[in-house]
């Protein structure tokens, strides 16, 4: 099976002090280190598992500057055969439509059977690149997939819905799926593995190489424009439960039942 996976490098914001930038339309992440987008880790693992199971080849794609290349090195380290990075000075600031258009162009005429994306990115959280790319490619897609099986030449996808519900859809190949976290257990990517993968080439493509002009990408080519970012309003203060442990435990259970949707 000929597989393609699309990945993105995002800031690790767990410990970062985020501030809205002076233009009001972007977020400054300070010295937050970059990492492979959480959902993409699962998409990559799923792609590698499929490659191991069915044979064939895996290509990894990324739209981003050189400092995002580490994401592709990780893909190569765990089993991708080829990596493609697309970048151009016209690309920053683009919304999901433009990203999908760039990825579509980067895929070219290569006959992939299955395309995998993370269900969303940890930074902008649109969850749109996958389905938009499927539209560009003119192929069926399923989002939020947490189980993926090959059946009689089609892929059976279980989609995660709310409250533990799932939806099963069958897609003809070629197809695109966006992967939900938890579908598998992503493997550890060792430094020695990444080092060895440095020998594998990363193809760098510019806009001219993929046949796009700068009016169709970046901010100019996006159908969506971010107007403003604002930090969330401070929430209500935390509530402290007091009393003997058994009484507190009972209160916790009551609260979870009432508000949490957990029990």
């Amino acid at each position: 099976m000929n597989l393609a996976v699309f990945v993105k490098q995002v800031p690790d914001t767990a410990e970062a002090d985020l501030v809205v930038a002076a233009d009001g339309r972007s977020v400054r992440t300070g010295d937050a280190p970059l990492q492979l987008n959480e959902w993409d880790r699962f998409a990559l693992e799923e792609a590698v598992l499929w490659k191991e199971r069915t044979g064939g080849a895996l290509t990894a794609f990324l739209v981003g500057p050189e400092e995002h290349e580490d994401a592709l090195r990780r893909c190569l380290a765990v089993g991708a055969d080829r990596a493609v990075r697309v970048w151009d000075p016209a690309l920053p600031g683009q919304g999901p439509c433009a990203v999908a258009r760039v990825l579509r162009a980067a895929v070219g005429d290569e006959p992939y059977d299955l395309f995998l994306c993370g269900a969303q990115a940890a930074d902008d959280g649109f969850g749109l690149v996958g389905p938009l790319l499927a539209g560009e490619l003119g192929i069926p897609s399923a989002t939020l997939v947490n189980r993926l099986e090959l059946q009689d030449g089609r892929v059976r996808c279980t989609r995660e819905l709310e409250a533990g519900w799932g939806e099963v859809v069958d897609l003809d190949l070629p197809a695109l799926v966006t992967i939900q976290t938890g579908i598998n257990e992503p493997r550890y990517v060792s430094i020695l593995g990444i080092r060895k993968a440095r020998k594998k080439p990363i193809d760098l493509l510019g806009l001219g190489d993929v046949g796009l002009d700068d009016r169709r990408v970046g901010e100019a080519g996006s159908r969506l424009r971010v107007e403003a970012f604002a930090p969330p309003p401070a929430g209500r203060e935390a509530e402290f439960l007091e009393g003997p442990p058994d009484a507190v435990a009972r209160q916790v259970v009551d609260l979870l039942r009432e508000k949490g949707g957990v029990l």
């Binding site: 690790d12 280190p33 550890y188």
Partner: protein, 392 residues
């Protein structure tokens, strides 16, 4: 099928001369987790020699139970190194990518943030707030470096170790500098988890930092950093543990410990300080200098000390199933000795013993104290806070 081979394809049996193994069982007999874990170094060594299917050995998950205390290697009459064979198997697991997620998180954090605790580099010096701790970032250079370490820098309980040590150094007028927020994990646990590539990167970074600053002596808070620099890096400059630095300051009459700190204590020898670095007397010299402290020795003390199970990356691995943990046994032994406190000199021992004190119901009767914390109590002004520095 092939016999167990290391990451470069060399047969492990040859590389570690395992055919010399007598199968005497001293390694397994001394293993501190042997009673609760299927980890059996004698069997692993035997199978590395005779088993055709090396992959089956790599599939063994019990290698994660090893605390890298090195009792097995120290006791081997043929001077073989079972601990290193276990580490080789861990490396093969790492390269295969299938490792416990808790260890994965610690390793990825070390790569991203320079520490295994998932904390930002920027916050590395927060522990020192209000204390006059010099740093190369503020242009305060010295040829002696205090390497604070990740756990004393970030863990809320262990920050007290670092604060106490800073106060002792300050009181003695001890000259040193620190790397501030530029300090990066020593890699001791990274190496013992088997992540060789990441360890090499940390070694490079730290070596360059030391050379660039023309450091001639390193003092570490943690015995794990001590072992990394001394044994794993093979640094040519002297590397000493904080307990040695404090003991020397006391011997030189530079550290006035004047206040009474009346406590009956037992000293828990950390594996990486005692057995792995040969430091047994310095912490006892410090204890002897604290007015009012009476030392009662554990039956298992010095070379025979009982591993607390905090080493070998075990701080980032799940505990072993049922049964009493060594740290729990340790605090119960301390309670039987009738002491008020267990004193130790390692952040991992401090954390495992603190946990054990709580899980054994000894929270109200037994204290776990770091050596520097205890010594700092005897300083003329024992208060720990910004106010103290303003007054002095």
């Amino acid at each position: 099928m092939a016999r167990l081979a290391d990451i470069d394809g060399n047969p492990v049996a040859e590389r570690y001369e395992l055919t010399a193994c007598l199968q005497c069982g001293r390694c397994t007999g001394g293993c501190p987790v042997g009673l609760r874990s299927p980890l059996n170094s004698r069997r692993l060594l035997y199978e590395a020699v005779v088993r055709e299917d090396g992959d089956a050995l790599v599939a063994r998950d019990e290698v994660w139970d090893c605390t890298a205390c090195r009792t097995c290697s120290d006791r081997c009459p043929r001077e073989l190194d079972p601990a290193a064979v276990i580490r080789e198997i861990r490396t093969l697991k790492i390269e295969g990518g299938r490792i416990p997620t808790t260890a994965m998180d610690a390793l990825e954090s070390t790569l991203k943030h320079g520490n295994p605790w998932g904390r930002s580099r920027r916050r590395r010096t927060q522990w020192a707030e209000g204390l006059p701790v010099p740093s190369v970032e503020d242009g305060q250079e010295s040829d002696r470096l205090w390497f604070v370490g990740c756990t004393p820098a970030y863990d809320p309980r262990c920050q007290a170790m670092a604060r106490a040590l800073a106060r002792l150094f300050h009181a003695a007028g001890y000259a040193y500098t620190t790397l501030g927020t530029e300090e990066v994990c020593c890699g001791s646990e990274v190496l013992r988890l088997g992540e060789l590539g990441l360890f090499e990167e940390l070694l490079e970074t730290n070596r360059e930092a030391l050379q660039g600053l023309e450091i001639r002596e390193v003092v570490t808070t943690s015995p794990h950093c001590l072992t990394a620099f001394r044994t794993d890096y093979g640094l040519e400059i002297p590397v000493r543990h904080a307990s040695q630095a404090v003991a020397d300051l006391l011997d030189a009459g530079r550290l006035p410990l004047v206040r009474q700190a009346p406590l009956r204590v037992a000293f828990h020898d950390p594996c990486y300080l005692g057995r792995q670095s040969g430091v047994y007397d310095a912490p006892r010299r410090v204890l002897a200098a604290v007015p009012g402290v009476e030392l009662v020795e554990f039956d298992r003390c010095r070379e025979r000390s009982l591993c607390c199970e905090g080493g070998g990356g075990r701080m980032w691995l799940e505990g072993l199933g049922e049964g009493e943990r060594n740290a729990q046994r340790r605090v119960r032994d301390a309670a039987d000795l009738g002491v008020d406190a267990v004193v130790t000199a390692c952040p991992f021992c401090l954390l495992t013993l603190e946990d054990a004190r709580k899980t054994t119901g000894l929270e109200d009767t037994l204290e776990i104290v770091d050596l520097a914390e205890l010594a700092a109590r005897a300083l003329d002004d024992p208060a720990d806070g910004p106010g103290e520095e303003e007054r002095s």
